[in-house]
């Protein structure tokens, strides 16, 4: 995931400004760092050949062992490996397996790792490896290349960047790291500094890779919600909902299975009998796209049978909030008092028998800091008359009553059965078990955001975890993802994130203690100061996708207006931004690691409409991807074991994993840090040589191209051409990160797995709002339930009612079930999928060893009931097609696949298909207009946080024998 320099800064500036004052929940604990002691080595004799058995013994010998990991694979796991080096080659890797347990009664994390990590040594030297700068000499995508020197490549690239900047400003230079290339160390610092020094447009792909849990943003105002994976072991009822952790959480899955052995139940909700369902106690074969209906039916059961926890609901949710029955908006202070705040909302207090402003809501008069109810006893249910400022009266009711009425009207299990295909008894059993368990959790694989109405699924899941009082507790709640904070990551950036004004503004707040709301505001300010554009908006405006997404069959029939009107309104109001501006064109596209022509929906559109607009396409990669084949230049970077790096740290394991340099890169490949440093350097030098100085930068402010490299290096503080420079950068990162146990870059590299020993200063982008304690498992959102910190939403609660006008007109003010637009398509089958077992994204997809363990080529899974009438047999080649596009692959006829589904797992390279027509060609990924909403507390765009989702699931197709 992309880590913004700016997000690192928030915490540090705030704490610096506060001058060490006690900040409630936000002050990092800083225990002393232990000194690292490597495990003592044991001498063992190499053998001389005596008999056959010594051949085997000789195979298992090595010259040295170096710690490594797969820093830029964008795998959410982080696993420390020992890289065994033999004869100057990284020969083989084996898990380091040095993780300590949190508690005696909880299993340890060892050994972690997966089969991809276990053969990266092969991928690093495979056929797809790029070792020299290449220049295209044929047509794009033709595969005609010329090997050129770095100097020749960089000179030409720099000149063409300068040309574009002169013509249309630097916003016409697009930099895209997908999310594939993020790291916590020097491997990401280079491209981040390059993009910022040059003020390029940056693509925000977080939602573009379909990983933006919008339902969480809508409900909680945040989406980071995970702890350490061993916390799952302490759950009594684990629900895997829209996910396949047996493929995607290989290092962590054992905790779920081990939890079963201590008596927990494992439930898997999936249309297909998925590889994760096989070890469950209950599998719910819900019909695709109907998960919200299942969740809401469970809520109906819990409320009707009084299985919910009223105290939790009254304090932690908006269900007791008052809504006007005349206009369906929350009752606001501005309704009741002249000049009242429009973000002060009300509860009905049963003690006073009167309305009372809800503590913790955005406009509570105390900056919405604490949701503690004090002596207020909110009514959960009831209708009340309230006198308005104009003298009239209005009737109000609670969100709870609105919700209950809706559930009783439309989501009784019998009604949900007709939608979901599940038996009503099964739904009731599931709801009762979930409510009865001491602790229930929902594992929602990174939020499970790839369906059109994923946000509604998520809102339903969160509702269940709120009704049962699980969110914020050990072994409980909806689990999505979270990150470890490392304060020293400031060093990655080249410049300060906060303006002087912001620093001045934050001091008084910091003295009182910063809240999630404060971080949100700071983060928004930073999001406004860079030309960063959500991918879907970029594709709509600049890449030719407007025509497709505007088509009638991709519109949500429940919305009164057409997508184009929502887009227009959102752009005009500034809720969404687009760079370069609508009247200009992208000219240069530089991407690293990511593979847009593999990932983007109906990628043929980008090839046909966007690519011709680009004067220059540069791929910075270690391997030949499909998108790289369509580049003008390929700059070869070092493999993961050939450079220094810090893997981004998701919280599954309480360690920061570092990667040492095991060998030098082959050929002329260079580290990312050096490569992007050189790009900045050449731009500056060519600008000087050509006499170019100021061009239009961000928002057309003047930008001096001659000083790009000075900005990149902080006026010479770093020297990307020095091979050891990355270690110096890591020194700065670790020395300034009290929350992790390494003192320097070198020590961290020797450790491989650097233990987390405390809580980093918060950042909106990481924060799970729980302190880390290494004597216990770690779980999210403790601060809200234990310290009564207000959630960063309008209501200061987990908010299930959204009175944004768009949500009201779209019928989504409360969580509901809606069919996606393609439900009514004439094409009978639906394409589903998920991350695959055999590759991290496309990176391992063409590796022979991995292909050998599949069928050697792309496949789809189909049920026999769909195959027989079509005359399709196992192993047949088929054409998967609709009016948008098509691709061909081999069929696996599988009893485990649900009828009606065509399962195509993630990330085959288009060049593995006939005519390079990859599996996204028929994927139209209709766009949910409500995600463009803004201007409402938690509903608005901020980078990496709350953007319209790419929703590839459920494409409507037909399948015929090829």
């Amino acid at each position: 995931m992309p880590i913004s320099r700016r997000s690192f800064i928030i915490g540090s500036t705030a704490v610096a400004a506060a001058g060490g004052l006690v900040l409630y929940n936000l002050r990092p604990r800083t225990p002393a760092k232990p000194v690292f002691q490597p495990a003592p080595s044991v001498a063992a004799q190499r053998v001389r050949y005596n008999d056959f058995s010594d051949i085997w013994r000789e195979k298992w010998t090595w010259d040295k062992v170096v710690k490594g990991t797969h820093t830029r694979a964008n795998c959410i796991s982080a696993c420390s490996w020992d890289v065994y080096v033999k004869d100057g080659i990284a020969w083989r890797e084996e898990q380091a397996a040095i993780y300590a347990p949190h508690r005696p009664d909880v299993p340890d994390f060892n050994p972690r790792g997966c089969q991809k990590g276990a053969c990266y040594t092969q991928l690093q030297l495979a056929e797809s490896r790029v070792t020299h700068p290449l220049k295209r000499v044929g047509e794009r995508g033709e595969g005609k290349w010329k090997r050129v020197s770095w100097d020749e490549a960089l000179t030409d690239i720099a000149d063409r960047i300068i040309d574009a900047a002169i013509e249309q400003g630097t916003e016409s230079v697009i930099f895209d790291d997908g999310t594939t290339n993020a790291g916590y160390g020097p491997e990401s610092a280079g491209d981040m500094r390059f993009a910022q020094a040059l003020q390029t447009t940056r693509i925000d792909s977080w939602a573009g890779v379909s990983d933006m849990p919008m339902g969480a943003v809508q409900t909680w105002g945040l989406y980071n919600s995970e702890g350490t994976a061993d916390d799952w072991f302490l759950s009594d009822y684990i629900v895997v909902w829209v996910g396949n952790p047996s493929y995607t959480r290989i290092p962590d899955m054992h905790f779920m299975h081990e939890a079963r052995y201590r008596g927990a139940k494992l439930v898997v909700i999936a249309p297909d009998y998925s590889p994760s369902a096989i070890h469950s106690d209950l599998w719910l074969n819900v019909k695709p796209e109907t998960d919200a209906a299942l969740g809401l039916a469970c809520a109906q059961v819990m409320i009707e049978e009084k299985l919910f926890k009223p105290e939790y609901v009254l304090e932690q949710t908006d269900l007791p909030f008052l809504v006007r029955t005349d206009n369906q908006h929350f009752l606001r202070q501005s309704d009741v008092e002249r000049g009242g705040a429009d973000n002060a909302l009300y509860l009905w207090d049963e003690v006073r028998n009167a309305i009372v402003v809800a503590p913790g809501c955005e406009g509570d008069g105390d900056e919405g800091r604490s949701l503690a109810l004090g002596d207020i006893r909110p009514a959960l249910s009831g209708r009340f008359e309230v006198k308005l400022a104009d003298g009239s009266s209005v009737e109000v009711e609670t969100v709870f009553d609105k919700l209950r009425a809706q559930l009783d009207a439309a989501y009784r299990p019998e009604q949900a059965a007709a939608i979901t295909g599940l038996h009503p008894d099964t739904i009731r059993t599931f709801a009762r078990q979930m409510a009865a368990a001491r602790r229930s959790m929902i594992f929602a694989s990174w939020g499970a955001c790839k369906h059109y109405h994923s946000d509604l699924f998520q809102r339903a899941m969160m509702l269940l975890m709120a009704l049962t009082g699980n969110q914020g507790y050990q072994g409980g709640g909806v689990r999505i993802a979270a990150w470890w904070g490392m304060d020293g990551l400031d060093a990655i950036a080249s410049q300060s994130a906060l303006t002087m004004m912001e620093k001045l503004q934050i001091i008084p707040k910091a003295i009182r203690g910063l809240t999630p709301r404060d971080y949100e505001k700071v983060f928004m300010g930073m999001s406004e100061r860079e030309s960063i554009v959500p991918l879907m908006v970029f594709l709509y405006v600049h890449a030719g996708y407007r025509e497709m997404w505007d088509e009638q069959h991709l519109q949500d029939p429940a919305l009164p207006r057409h997508l184009r009107e929502y887009v227009r309104e959102s752009l005009d109001r500034g809720w969404m931004k687009v760079y370069p501006p609508e009247d200009r064109s992208p000219k240069v596209y530089i991407f690293t690691g990511c593979n847009p022509l593999r990932r983007w929906p109906a990628a043929q559109i980008a090839r046909e409409k966007l690519w011709p607009k680009l004067d220059l396409v540069v791929s910075v990669n270690f391997r030949m991807s499909t998108s790289t084949m369509y580049a003008d230049y390929v700059l070869p970077v070092a493999g993961y074991y050939e450079k220094y790096g810090i893997k981004y740290g998701q919280t599954y394991v309480p360690y920061i994993i570092c990667s040492d340099k095991a060998t030098e890169p082959p050929g002329e490949a260079k580290s990312d840090w050096e490569t992007f440093g050189l790009l900045s350097k050449y731009v500056a030098e060519r600008a000087k040589a050509r006499g170019v100085s100021e061009v239009r930068g961000f928002h057309d402010e003047p930008l001096d191209l001659r000083t790009v490299y000075d900005r990149h290096t902080q006026n010479g503080k770093s020297d990307p051409t020095d091979p050891e420079d990355p270690v110096k950068l890591m020194d700065a990162i670790f020395a300034n990160s009290p929350s992790v146990g390494a003192n320097s870059g070198r020590e961290a590299l020797d450790m491989g797995a650097v233990p987390v020993i405390g809580t980093g200063r918060p950042s909106l982008i990481y924060q799970n709002y729980s302190e880390y304690d290494n004597d216990d498992t770690h779980w999210p959102h403790r601060d809200f339930v234990e310290k009564k910190v207000a959630w960063p939403t309008l209501t200061g609660r987990q908010q299930f009612y959204l009175d944004h006008p768009w949500y009201l007109e779209g019928g989504e003010s409360l969580p509901v079930h809606k069919d996606p637009p393609l439900a009514s398509s004439e094409f009978p089958l639906r394409v589903y999928g998920g991350h695959n077992r055999w590759s991290i994204h496309a990176i391992w997809r063409d590796l022979k060893l991995m292909l050998q363990l599949e069928r050697g080529q792309p496949v789809c899974f189909m049920n026999p009931r769909d195959c027989e009438p079509r005359g399709i047999a196992d192993g047949d080649m088929v054409r998967v097609h609709n009016n948008r596009g098509e691709f061909e692959c081999m069929v696996k006829v599988a009893a485990a696949t649900a009828p009606g589904e065509v399962i195509v797992y993630h990330a085959w390279e288009p060049y593995q298909f006939k005519q390079w027509k990859g599996p996204t060609e028929p994927i139209e990924a209709p766009w949910k207009a409500l995600h463009l909403a803004g201007g409402y507390s938690q509903l608005h765009y901020r980078m990496f946080y709350g953007a319209p989702s790419h929703v590839p699931r459920g494409a409507a197709v037909e399948v015929t024998r090829a």
Partner: protein
């Protein structure tokens, strides 16, 4: 056990196996990466029910069914699945654009070591499958050893590991016919039979086999068969929940499996139906023998006990709170070994 001092053994918990094949890859990169070994996987994982690797191996014969040696079929390389060749160079640098795509060159592949992955059996929604990892069973009564006219198959005295003496092997491949589990491969370059060596060079240094030590699912227990303080003996002999695969083959395997359970099945109306299991009993009996039903009952009873908050030694063993405790003392961290010249 005749002729050997001790016997190494392995127990694999099929309720924890997620089919990720890290074991397969760990073994592959360590032992079978060289020429002539491209198609070999000493360790495989297959989706059951399925035809497995080599294709249809369970019906190929061999071993001692009913106590008598049976002549088995010699599996062909195509039945294991050959190491396919690809046209990366042509696609990336051939200048042919979209007219060529990356794919297997030569004859279209018809089978591979994991060809029927995740397909399963039964009828939706009562489909079922599970993963079955396999390696050489290092049998107490190895059919391969008995079948070799050269005496080239040895059972190591120290640990009972069955190895092919490649100095003696002449490539007759009678071992491949005789092994009822079909876990022996033929090296067409060096013209010898090759198979899992239970990582004996690692055992000699106190390190668990790669497939076990590298298993992220924490599926595999390793140790001496008779070590009463370690998990193997407890799971196999004390709790009797770990069973050999196809005991009727008569070779007395030293690899054992904790049999799998599965989620509840549905009746015709879609209600949860607990009157019978999703994985048919007869299917599990066909794999693990009659004792499998008793083992499943023991597992269910002990799990219920744990759910009531009572202590269960069996559940604690299977949880494996400390990963290193799974390896019966073979728990040295290999990176601490520093090789010195002899």
């Amino acid at each position: 056990m005749p002729g050997i001092k001790r016997q190494m053994a392995m127990v694999m918990d099929l309720n924890k196996c997620i089919g990720c094949q890290t074991c397969t890859v760990a073994c592959k990169t360590l032992w079978t990466a060289s020429e002539g070994m491209e198609h070999m996987f000493f360790n495989t994982v297959n989706t059951q029910p399925g035809e497995g690797t080599p294709r249809g191996w369970e019906a190929m014969g061999g071993g001692f069914p009913g106590g008598e040696a049976q002549l088995g079929k010699l599996p062909a390389i195509g039945e294991f699945g050959d190491a396919w060749k690809y046209n990366h160079e042509e696609v990336f640098y051939g200048g042919k654009g979209q007219d060529v795509h990356l794919g297997v060159q030569g004859e279209a592949p018809k089978w591979g070591p994991n060809w029927d992955e995740d397909q399963g059996g039964g009828e939706f929604p009562n489909s079922f499958f599970f993963y079955l990892p396999r390696l050489c069973n290092h049998c107490t009564h190895p059919a391969c050893k008995e079948a070799c006219p050269r005496g080239a198959i040895e059972k190591r005295e120290a640990d009972g590991v069955v190895v092919v003496n490649e100095d003696r092997c002449r490539g007759y491949r009678h071992c491949m016919e005789a092994c009822p589990y079909k876990k022996i491969y033929f090296n067409h370059v060096s013209q010898v039979s090759q198979k899992c060596i239970f990582c004996f060079p690692r055992l000699e240094q106190g390190v668990a086999p790669a497939c076990a030590r590298q298993c992220p699912g924490r599926v595999r227990f390793v140790g001496y068969r008779d070590d009463q303080d370690a998990p193997i003996w407890k799971l196999v002999d004390k709790w009797k929940v770990a069973l050999p695969l196809h005991p009727e083959f008569g070779t007395e395997p030293n690899v054992f499996y904790v049999p799998p359970s599965a989620p509840a099945r549905f009746d015709a109306d879609g209600r949860i139906d607990e009157s019978k299991p999703r994985i048919p009993d007869e299917y599990l009996v066909s794999l693990f023998g009659e004792r499998v039903l008793e083992a499943l009952q023991t597992l269910a009873d002990e799990r219920a006990k744990a759910a009531r908050g009572e202590r269960s030694e069996l559940m604690d063993l299977l949880i494996a709170y400390r990963w290193q405790d799974m390896f019966g003392g073979f728990d040295r961290d290999p990176q601490t070994i520093k090789w010195v010249e002899a």
